[in-house]
Symmetry: C2
Subunit: 328 residues, 2 copies
DNA sequence: AACCGGACGGCAATCGATTGCCATTAATTG
DNA sequence: CAATTAATGGCAATCGATTGCCGTCCGGTT
């Protein structure tokens, strides 16, 4: 089942078999068809590693996520996987465990064994990222670095919508519940939050940073209550759901006493209790777009990129975790 | 940054470098250390593909899931990923889109590029599975095939617990909400359900099969109500959560009018409303164990396996979706 | 002194495909 | 009709590591 077996069987040279299979126009129709028939017959599958070794193309893309258990990434993985399969590429999934060091280490390790990488929620400093992008095709998700192509979900815009929503409901004291300090998205959201608040002559409170797990939600909920805010916008839904649970435990009525707005609209946001008002992000699409950009880039290496950054819109999905500000 | 560069730099043959790095005891201490130092210096990372080509070992394992969006698999992916990283192996994630054909096709495709595969929720017939297992190290999850090692989550036992639970609450008419017909686990659960019911002189109703998505939950809920059952045990939590939503829409009180028990205890099962009574499965552990078994098998190829099947216990986690049977 | 065996390291084949280059043949053209 | 060009397919090098085999050196035996 190697190219040589087929060559022997059809009485041509191995190189011809190779061509018949990968550059069909380079070989005569009848020869080609004979070869292809034989290949099909023998159930031939080219050896990925041999191909990679000689051609340099691996047909494999690595997707680095900071935490494989975070439902946010499920959509991303799904989208990426879909698009990659359509292109006949494989998906190497890598969990960086939220550590910049590990991320860097693993990146170096796979550098030579993939065609490119997608960095979802990279924790790497901008400089490192630039270096890596120079030696390996990279697409980042939710992370903007000069000269590195990226797909970013426009949650800052969404955060503004969220603030408008809350302000229109009479909220004046609104807090931002922060996520990981090394998260670019976190910084962007906080910035947007302050801007939006300022527009109404208000200033946003801020609590955190918190880890992005439901457990951190307990601490976050308590901190949120301490600010005296009547509404909180959280870094992501996981945190928000955790907060909701803690508030329920403490007997705090949501949205009666406090409103909570999440971010991402992950699996579960629509059926937690109360269902979460959140910024719906096109996560799966982000995964698909990231792959498309990467593959596109791979095909036109050397050419100047048409578009370096794709901004995906979000919208506020209002459910039952947000409501009118309580009367004082 | 190849083995040859290091060889040139240290003035030894490439073969010596290779040995110094992979079979340290085959080379003199001082030579070895000189080489290792140089390797570290140059930030050398062996080329995966070259290594795979000559040695046959790829240090890569494929994980095939039937649907990457199903939260059940998240835990599995996570567990597998963890264990693989610990062993320095890579994870190739493959989504078979619930199609036996595609699964088979993709398996053949990756056959030569991985050391082994983990089949989570395989849709393949037993015969095909046997054939594949003969030519490639395989570990299945939740699927029992002779001569193929596997880790199975003992949900049949859990189903019995669930039935006991429901019967003790006064339920007599209990229905099983079935999943995909090609799912081995589904068959096993249904069997367990009938056995458990029979023990009490009862017979279980059965509705389905349904696809495993929340949307199928709507249809399933209606079908479930039609049976007149006062309780339903579902193939999995995703379905159960979908059912819960539909029941809420229709104004049916859970557990007042009907009890619902899920299976797996996925993310979300604890915070849907009402929180779902379900069979808690050690999913992440299953992923870890599957990888361990596979790696272990790889190390002792040829030897007779110590244990072919690992059975992981489940337990019933009682939440608020199950309660006393309604009075008639 | 002759011999033996182990430690060490080099040589070269090998894994399976890709690809630049060249030879052959056929077709086109002035 | 000679000559240029295009189509086709083979040869052999190459990618980067691994590994079986062999030679050399050295210390220890008898």
């Amino acid at each position: 089942m190697t190219i040589n077996d087929i060559a022997a069987l059809t009485g041509v040279a191995a190189s011809t078999v190779s061509r018949a299979l990968s550059r069909p126009d380079r070989v005569n129709r009848v020869t080609r068809e004979r070869i292809q028939a034989a290949a099909r017959e023998l159930n031939y599958v080219p050896n990925t590693h041999a191909r990679a070794l000689s051609s340099g193309r691996t047909e494999t893309v690595a997707l680095l996520v900071s935490d494989a258990t975070n439902p946010f990434f499920f959509g991303l993985i799904r989208g990426a996987q879909q698009q990659l399969r359509a292109a006949g590429h494989a998906l190497l999934l890598i969990d960086t465990e939220d550590s910049a060091e590990l991320e860097n280490h693993l990146l170096h390790k796979v550098r030579r064994s993939v065609d490119g990488v997608i960095l979802a929620a990279s924790r790497l400093p901008e400089r490192t990222l630039s270096v890596i992008a120079a030696e390996l095709p990279v697409v980042t998700v939710n992370r903007n670095v000069p000269r590195v192509r990226s797909v970013v979900i426009d949650s800052p815009d969404g955060v503004m919508q969220a603030v408008e929503h809350l302000v229109s409901l009479g909220h004046r004291a609104i807090a931002y519940v922060a996520g990981p300090p090394s998260s670019w998205a976190d910084a962007a959201r906080w910035r947007a939050m302050r801007t939006a608040m300022a527009r109404h002559g208000l200033t946003a409170a801020r609590v955190g940073p918190f880890g992005v797990s439901r457990n951190s939600g307990s601490v976050a909920a308590d901190a949120l209550l301490n600010t005296g805010a009547t509404a909180g916008v959280t870094f992501n839904d996981l945190l928000a759901i955790g907060i909701l649970r803690r508030l329920a435990e403490r007997g705090v009525d949501v949205p009666g006493e406090i409103s909570v707005v999440g971010c991402d609209d992950i699996f579960g946001a629509d059926f937690c209790s109360p269902p979460l008002t959140t910024l719906t992000a096109p996560i799966e699409q982000a995964g698909r777009v990231a792959v498309s950009m990467l593959l596109d880039h791979l095909e036109h290496l050397g050419e100047t990129a048409s578009r370096q950054t794709v901004l995906l819109p979000t919208h506020l999905t209002i459910r039952q975790s947000s409501g009118p500000a309580p009367r004082r």
